[in-house]
């Protein structure tokens, strides 16, 4: 029983690490410019994008996921919300941002992504 309990606790630790502590690799803005961020199967692909600080940037999104949850794209800190029609590329122009992390997500926050703005403030 002790082993099962330890396995259970290890599983909890793994959940915490995997979903909250681990920092996934970010894609560069250039990579995203060549290929729109795909909204499919419950995720943004890629979901983590690095953007240079103090420069305007454009992110393209294409939704191929039919779920209506995926339809709305929200950047809460930037007061941006946009409807993503199915199978159409939508460009979102971001203003020049100060370094930091900015999340984007669907209306229900089940699809989540993050822009990491890097550079001198």
């Amino acid at each position: 029983m002790m082993i099962i309990n330890l396995l259970g606790l290890a599983l909890i630790a793994l959940i915490i690490w995997w979903f909250w502590i681990y920092q996934p690799k970010n894609e560069s803005l250039e990579a995203v410019q060549h290929q729109p961020i795909k909204v499919a199967n419950g995720v943004y692909q890629p979901a983590f994008v690095t953007v240079p600080a103090n420069q305007e940037a454009t992110l393209s999104f294409i939704r191929t996921d039919e779920s209506p949850c995926a339809e709305t794209l929200v950047f809460p800190e930037l007061n941006i919300s946009e409807t993503l029609p199915l199978n159409h590329v939508i460009e979102i122009k971001l203003p020049a941002l100060t370094p930091g992390s900015y999340t984007f997500h669907c209306q229900m926050q089940m699809y989540r992504g993050q822009i990491r703005v890097e550079g001198e403030s």
Partner: protein, 777 residues
């Protein structure tokens, strides 16, 4: 008397920085517009990049095609060349694909969306039917016989077949859950798919272990849960389908707005009338509209006379007379006569397009009340996973036999019953319906924050001119105080006011026009803010303004103050006019009170809102108007900058202040107020910048806006409460908290049904708002 003349006609600045930022958006080219010999086709069936060359090649072989470039990302191809879309579509079909052309005017996008949604809906129902066709018989068998365990070799074989059938249901009907869960997991995120995949996956895996290796399980734990897996997949697909249907209804208001725009317009080109797609209409085109037809783009009437029904945009039920020079708005309906108008705004620049855009963005924004739910949503799924593990451990450690089976059931049920979607949907669905409902009533709410604040307004500040009154004053009296004739006084006064767009100035110039008086050249001109103007015309020194102006310029008016006051007591605005240092006349202008201002103000007061009137006008006029409309608290002779202070003073008293003005000279006070209301006509550019815009002039819009905001907030609270309580009660019950006392443990199937219908309940509750009616009594 304050004379706010010659203020620049500027748009209202952005309010408090809280406005919803409008992203620059491009729907990269496409969709099907045929313009300047370019056609964009939407391609179906192109599944790989190699299709691009094939499709482009097929199109380039069509005679007349100069180039064909396919955008694989959004499955569109842009073709240049004077070729009909039909020929192009045939070429694509010959190459083995499907293609269609559609107009990019928003309407088709909506139709496409509905089409896609319907396809998705049918697929969900199909998946549901397949899953339930296995799940229901299995569940019925379990309920009738009570035998769902593996004890004999025959049972092992039978259950193995059932297990494989369940696996095929999982692959066919539940594939999207597992794919989504896996992709999400790889992305270090978790969503509803994660919970469903884990829940159903655990139940199936456990059951398969029981079937394949029964000997490793205690005999009491050899129970299979294939029926739970199939039922959960079926019920959740059903829930998603019902949610999709209900969601469709939440956007009915925007659909109606988009549907207002006609698809074609009849333009007069080279003396001939031709019907062309709406997106081909350009600025300057002369557009013919016949009785019963919709106005296609914004414009100005150049021929004809008619009445136009603008109720769909402004909520104003009475058709508006239109004649030469009047503005017409896209989406409104020509009732009686035929007319030709010149297009002034087309495509995305029309007032209708702006309104649609604004409503869409407002519908996507969230009021602050949803923030807690947002924070919870962020951590929700991993927390539920942890609770499921803890629950399983608790059963294994402290539960009765078969503790393993109990542990599996409780973990599965916890995973399945938890519903992040109900929380996530609670706020946006209500905002979607509430903002749409407001738009139908002619009230444009800029964002969720404005919606929430409007529901709390305790004091409403109203500007007088143009808000309570029509804002179209007329000259009613010219009281001469010197030897000048009335015509001379009017001619001079009108000449110096000719450059102003202030309603009082317009009243004087209009009056001079009616009397066919020629306007004279103004030599020098100076505005004295809050006082009036001074000017030189044909060598005469002229002063025109309020009492303060006369006193500051040492003009003797003492003998005429009583006369001015008696005019003011009749709700007229008296203005002093002096020529060469001597008072020459008192010109009185009256601005009629809007027909329904009294009823609307009473309605606000009846709802407990403190109504305050501010005006730059003199005290007597202000008092007369306030008394007529039933306002007891008013401030007269308030300079534009002082209006802001009055708003601040009310806020210091603890009031949540709404400020209503015309959006031009009230801009600072509108920005200072907790909610700024601009009175628009549906064509104002200022609608983009006020917190709330009333598309018709009636002050009933204020009470409507507050009532709709209150109803929406109340709906959001019901949804949030329901979603919180559902999860807060459902998860512990699923974990087995009732078992020690009542000896019951929830079935995963019940959890699946509860989860599936929790989202539907939230969306359906939001839909109740569609039937909300603001009470005008």
């Amino acid at each position: 008397m304050t004379h706010e003349l010659n203020l620049p006609n500027q748009p209202v600045p952005s309010q408090k920085g809280t406005g919803h930022h409008e992203p620059e958006r491009h729907e990269t080219e496409h969709k099907a517009q045929q313009q300047n010999n370019q056609t964009t086709l939407m391609i179906e069936g192109a599944g790989c990049v190699s299709c691009v060359g094939k499709i482009e090649g097929a199109l380039k072989q069509v005679p007349g095609v100069q180039s064909a470039n396919m955008n694989f990302a959004d499955r569109t191809v842009l073709v240049e060349g004077a070729v009909s879309p039909d020929q192009l579509i045939q070429a694509v079909q010959k190459a083995g694909y499907q293609a269609k052309a559609s107009a990019n005017n928003g309407v088709d996008t909506l139709e496409e969306k509905e089409e896609e949604d319907f396809k998705y809906y049918k697929r969900l129902l199909r998946d549901m039917a397949i899953a339930l066709s296995l799940g229901i018989p299995l569940m019925a068998y379990g309920l009738i016989t009570g035998e769902m365990s593996v004890n004999t070799p025959t049972e092992r074989v039978v259950w193995l077949i059932v297990g494989l059938l369940t696996l095929s249901v999982m692959i066919f009907s539940g594939k999207h859950f597992y794919t989504g869960a896996w992709k999400s997991f790889k992305n270090h995120s978790a969503n509803m798919d994660t919970l469903i995949a884990l829940g159903t996956g655990t139940a199936w895996l456990y059951s398969m272990v029981v079937v394949l290796f029964p000997e490793i399980m205690p005999s009491v734990a050899r129970h299979v849960y294939f029926e739970a897996t199939a039922m959960i997949i079926g019920l959740i697909n059903l829930g998603l389908a019902l949610e999709l249907k209900a969601r469709g209804r939440t956007s009915e208001a925007i659909k109606r707005l988009i549907g207002l725009q006609p698809k074609t317009a009849r333009v007069v080109r080279n003396g001939q009338e031709i019907d062309i797609p709406i997106e081909d209409v350009v600025i300057g085109d002369n557009v013919r509209v016949r009785p019963g037809e919709k106005i296609s783009v914004d414009g100005v009437v150049i021929e004809g006379h008619t009445a136009i029904d603008e109720s769909m945009l402004t909520g104003e039920p009475i058709p508006v007379e239109k004649q030469l020079g009047d503005e017409v708005i896209a989406g409104t309906i020509n009732k009686t006569g035929s007319l030709i108008f010149e297009a002034t705004r087309v495509g995305k620049d029309t007032a209708l397009a702006h309104i649609i855009n604004m409503v869409k963005h407002a519908q996507n924004s969230k009021p602050p009340i949803g923030r807690l739910a947002d924070v919870i949503s962020t951590y929700f799924v991993p927390v539920i996973m942890i609770i499921a593990v803890l629950s399983a451990l608790a059963w294994l450690n402290f539960g009765p036999e078969p503790s393993l089976a109990f542990a599996i059931v409780s973990a599965t049920t916890v995973l399945i019953i938890a519903c992040p979607c109900a929380l996530g949907l609670a706020t946006p669905m209500s905002v979607m319906v509430g903002v749409g409902k407001a738009a139908e009533a002619g009230v444009l709410i800029r964002n969720g924050e404005a919606l929430q604040t409007a529901s709390k307004i305790t004091a409403m500040v109203l500007d007088k001119t143009g808000t309570i009154t029509l804002g179209e004053p007329k000259v009613t009296d010219i009281v001469l105080t010197s030897d000048e004739s009335k015509d001379t006084v009017l001619q001079l006064a009108a000449s110096l006011e000719s450059g102003s767009e202030h309603p009082l100035a317009l009243a004087i110039t209009e009056s001079a026009k009616e009397k066919q008086l020629d306007l004279l050249t103004v030599d020098t001109f100076n505005t004295i803010a809050g006082h009036g103007v001074e000017a030189t015309i044909t060598g005469k020194q002229l002063l025109f303004g309020n009492e303060k102006l006369m006193i500051s310029k040492h003009i003797e008016i003492a003998a005429f103050v009583d006369q001015a006051q008696s005019l003011a007591a009749e709700a007229k605005t008296p203005m002093y006019f002096a020529v060469d240092g001597k008072l020459s006349a008192i010109i009185a202008v009256a601005d009629p009170i809007k027909e329904d201002s009294i009823a609307a103000i009473q309605r606000l007061q009846a709802n407990g809102v403190r109504v305050v009137m501010l005006t730059g006008d003199n005290r007597n006029t202000a008092k007369a108007v306030a008394e007529k409309v039933g306002i007891t608290e008013f401030y007269a002779e308030v300079l534009p900058e002082d209006k802001t202070q009055k708003v601040q003073a009310l806020q210091m008293e603890g009031e949540i202040v709404g400020m209503t003005g015309d959006g031009i000279n009230d801009a600072p006070a509108l920005a200072m107020a907790n909610v700024g209301f601009a009175i628009g006509t549906g064509t104002d550019v200022a609608i983009e910048s006020a917190d709330i815009t009333l598309m018709r002039g009636s002050l009933h819009g204020l009470a409507d806006a507050i009532a709709i905001s209150k109803a929406t907030l109340s709906n959001i609270k019901q949804n949030l409460f329901g979603a919180f309580v559902y999860n807060a009660a459902g998860v512990p019950i699923a974990a087995g908290i009732l078992y020690p006392v009542f000896g019951v443990l929830m079935s995963p199937i019940i959890a699946g049904a509860a989860m599936a219908f929790s989202s539907v309940t939230v969306v359906s509750n939001a839909n109740r708002l569609r039937f909300f009616k603001a009470n005008k009594s």
